[in-house]
Amino acid sequence: MGSPGPGPQTVTVRRRRRRSSYQTREALTGFLFLSPSFVFLTAFVFIPLLYLMYVSQLHWNLISTSSYVGLNNYAHLFHDAYFTSTVRNTIVFTAGVMVLTLPTAFAAAFLLNMRLRERTFYRSAFLAPYVFPLVASGIVWTLMLQPQEGVVNWFLSLFGIAGPPWLNSGTWAMVAIVLVTSWQYFGFYTLIFLSGLQGVPRDVLEAADVDGVSGARRIWSVTLPMMSSSLFFATVILVIQSFQVFTQVFVMTGGGPDSATTTIVFYLYQEAFQFFQMGTAATVAVLLLMSLVVLTLLQLLASRRWVYYES
């Protein structure tokens, strides 16, 4: 049967084939582009995490023979008041850093957005601590927070305030670590908010003005919603950063006094290298990661309700 040429059906098939081979090629290029990153992430992040999941089921001090204990480490941690207190400390720390950093950074960004001539100077000043090694700032702040000879309490005394004992007291040591962390990060979050503010279109603000909405009300009901996505980004990153707090604790308090400033990652480190309990340390690592994943997913879900994306 003579056929004059490819009928309409054949054309469709061929086109589909072409499209699917195009799709395959696209996908292959995609995987090729991803492969360098994923080779390294797999080797040095994912495999170590899987390995830790395995180690979390062992009783092991890293150098002696290990024994398999199943989920005992998990069960043990859930009943360990000390571990619970490190979780509590981490949450208190995170909340403290957020409460202190986010509003001040927003206020600073708001003032910087007034476009004063010398704003570069302020911006650089605010960001300077972010450039400084955490190890060094931890040490310097420890000296500055000395109750007697420290600069901070001297300054407070100028206003007739008797400075607190800072690192000598459980409550104040936590306050000190929160303060130092906020000092370090404040400029970075100011920068994020500043860029968010600069993304708020002027005409929207002016329109609000015309409608008689100004001052605090304008910030609350116009500016903040317009930059909600940078608030969201800042919150997510700050939560992750705060949950991973280690160096400040390591340098300034060693987790003390007592265990008042022992946070999750510091505890993990202690279990592994000071207490010779690799299994417990791995368990803490797994739990930390799981809770961060859950927390971030929750934030993502919640963000659908309040984050405004300009499109």
Binding site: I63, L143, L167, T253, D258
Partner: protein, 436 residues
């Protein structure tokens, strides 16, 4: 061969000891081809680091067959960076030949079989035989009856006091007991605000705590070393007394990680009349002394509870050799360790750092006796060595000390009730020791 042996100065007096000769002989044979390079990991930073390097330079200059690379690995304190590095190094198998190790930390490493037993080597050594070391210098390096470490930089806690202040307050002699110390501290405290002079600075650290507990008739652990006993009323009595002094304003306590440095500075500048510290502190004190304190500082034994025997813990570090290091390196490491403990080196090290000489031969040497004439306080420290006790080491001991230090901070920084706090610490470590 002969010149080499003389220079090594190790086997000279024990020519009859076949094993050692073979040992050094073989390392010598290897050395003839190529010097053995060994890594020595240590954890003394700051000023002390310079002295470690000087010692090693001297060793290398006098031992052409061996090259010691002395490598700083972060602080060697219990749970410090050097310990983490050793753990990971042993786990992976890339170990140094020899390392400094904190005096209380031997157990987990020895129990894991990571360390080379030294007994047979020591038997053939000219000054590192068991009987050569001063009282109490060896137990912290042994585990289940096997010696794995020999003393490197060692100290014991002592009480520093200011004789001039004591004289002014009408006190004739330093306190021998905690109640006496409390009474003296009250008499010594005066002034207020910036000019306040305290009678006593507390050292909120596990190291003096070992002495507080054992010198009050208390025990740290039971005989089987699996249950904590340090929370008894008897054992915590010195802490109760010190906390009371803090509460009443007669004693000062620093928190944060600098408490020790702060105590030293207070004492050197006349802001406190007494503090418990280490003879190794003298290096720092010396740079900070005001003229009147320089003329009047003295050392006394650590206080006890009335009628109880004085027991002081070993402090500082020991040196160990690793089992996984190649044989030639182990032999070279042993040569180095023996050189370090030889009298001439011990005297030099002690004079420069304030750490104690570790062998009787070093203390009796003319050089050290001469040093003691100009540094009479050293005699007190040497005398206190008779009271150096044996700590109940087990594989959880370092962990226990960390828990204890948290408890101590709760007691002194936050003024928590002493016995209840230490009871909590005891329960925590009991749980760990019972395998929970």
């Amino acid at each position: 061969m002969k010149t080499f042996l003389t220079r090594v100065g190790v086997v000279a007096m024990s020519g009859a000891m076949l094993a050692t000769t073979a040992l050094v002989g073989s390392s010598q044979a290897a050395a003839a081809r190529k010097p053995v390079t060994i890594q020595f990991w240590y954890g003394l930073g700051g000023t002390l680091e310079g002295y470690v390097q000087k010692m090693v330079d001297r060793f290398n200059a006098s031992h052409p067959g061996i090259k010691v690379e002395a490598l700083y690995q972060g602080s060697y304190s219990g749970g410090g960076p050097e310990q983490q590095k050793l753990l990971t190094a042993i786990a992976s198998g890339s170990v140094p030949a020899v390392a400094q190790m904190e005096a209380n930390s031997i157990a987990p490493f020895a129990a894991a079989g990571a360390l080379l037993p030294l007994d047979s080597l020591m038997k053939h050594s000219s000054w590192d035989q068991a009987g050569d070391f001063l009282h109490g210098m060896l137990p912290s390096g042994s585990w289940k009856g096997v010696q794995y470490a020999i003393p490197f930089n060692r100290s014991v806690p002592v009480l520093f006091y200011n004789a001039q202040m004591f004289h002014k307050a009408g006190i004739g002699s330093p306190p021998a007991t905690w109640p006496e110390l409390a009474k003296d501290a009250k008499l010594l405290t005066h002034g207020s605000g910036k000019n306040k002079v305290y009678g006593f600075d507390v050292l909120p650290d596990w190291w003096p705590w070992e002495s507080w507990t054992l010198s009050s008739g208390g025990k740290i652990l039971n005989a089987a070393k699996n249950k904590a006993l340090f929370d008894s009323a008897q054992a915590v009595a010195p802490m109760v007394i010190q906390q009371q002094l803090v509460k009443e304003g007669y004693a000062k306590v620093y928190a944060g990680s600098n408490y020790w440095t702060e105590d030293k500075t207070d004492f050197a500048t006349g802001k406190t009349a007494m503090y418990p510290g280490s003879p190794g502190d003298i290096a720092q004190l010396d740079t900070q002394f005001t003229p009147s304190v320089r003329a009047n500082w003295r050392i006394a034994f650590m206080p006890t509870m009335p009628g109880e025997k004085l027991v002081v813990p070993p402090g500082g570090g020991n040196a160990v050799i690793f089992r996984k290091a190649p044989k030639a390196q182990q032999q070279a490491a042993w040569v180095f360790m023996q050189w370090f403990t030889a009298p001439a080196q011990q005297v030099w090290w002690s004079e420069h750092t304030g750490y104690l000489p570790v062998t009787g031969a070093a203390v009796d040497s003319a050089a050290y006796q001469k040093y003691l004439k100009t540094h009479p306080q050293g005699r007190v420290v040497i005398a206190e060595l008779k009271h150096q006790g044996v700590m109940p080491l087990n594989t959880h001991y370092v962990q226990m000390l960390q828990f204890v230090e948290q408890g101590i901070q709760g007691v002194f920084d936050e003024l928590k009730p002493v016995q209840a706090t230490m009871h909590g610490v005891a329960q925590r470590i009991d749980q760990v020791m019972s395998g929970g």
